[in-house]
Amino acid sequence: MKVAFVEPFVKAARDVFQLMMDLDAQRGDLRASEQLVPSKDASVAIGVTGDLLGSILYSFPRQMTLEMVEIMAGMPVDELDSFVISALGEVANIISGNAMAYLNSANYMCNINPPQIVLGQETALEMVTRKALIVPLRTRIGEFDIFITLKEQA
């Protein structure tokens, strides 16, 4: 899979974190993994179809998830309940939607499926490529990972 597919997701995530939470997200070093297994407590998987096929997995630490929702809601949040999970899923959905717009302008016409929430670090998700690329993003409230496994449709 092409490293170029990573950039639209990084750009979209940085924009969305700034717009929605006033958080600066710094990109860490790219790494590869042979498995698509959540690295942190609360994750959102989003399927991609169209010219590119595969999935994106956003993986967040529990405390960071709570703080993200606290910033948006402007009130204390202390458990990963349906409200928090729904908000997290939507943030990942918005990032992915914006990333699709960047990919579309690079002539990859793709769509995304509704977000699926994965809690815990047990579940392995299906990969369409031999390796997934993982890009960590650091903010002042924690670090999260974006896993990307995308291949061009023949």
């Binding site: 717009l19 809601a73 949040v77 999970i85 729904s86 908000a87």
Partner: protein, 139 residues
């Protein structure tokens, strides 16, 4: 409190309605997320749902009329986004009827309402203000 001053676009009628929307959603979330008997919160949930269904129609209409008035180039795209949001609210209203006002479903609705409102006002609506400023107008 969800509202932030940076959400202002510099057009009073739109900003006042946005503030009202943020206050109502914020109020709703506080009530839904407060510890306590769920049964007692359902009245508030129903009230917010009814308010959203009515008020977004008024607000979207006013905002779309304003966009037409200033020849906003993204009018059609913006109108579609508003329509999809109205559909989302109505779909939840149908689900509440069918599945009941369960805590889980209401919380899910709250998460969507909050993120949509923030992203829409912090991003898409800002382009209205930017356009007005570009044209040299004051709104």
């Amino acid at each position: 409190m969800m509202w932030k001053e940076k959400y202002r676009i510099g057009v009073d009628v739109v900003d006042n309605q946005h503030q009202e929307l943020f206050h109502r959603v914020s109020d709703f979330l506080i009530s839904v997320q407060r510890k306590g008997d769920w049964g007692q919160k359902i009245a508030k949930v129903k009230e917010t749902l009814a308010f959203m269904q009515e008020y977004v129609i008024v607000h979207f209409r006013d905002e779309e009329n304003y966009q037409l008035q200033i020849n906003f180039p993204e009018y059609e795209e913006h109108k579609d986004v508003h329509a999809r949001f109205r559909d989302m609210i109505n779909q939840y209203a149908v689900r509440f009827e069918k599945e009941g006002f369960t805590q889980e479903l209401v919380q899910e609705f709250g998460g969507k309402l909050m993120t949509w409102l923030i992203m829409h006002v912090a991003d898409m609506d800002q382009r209205i203000g930017a356009y007005v400023r570009e044209q040299g107008g004051k709104g």
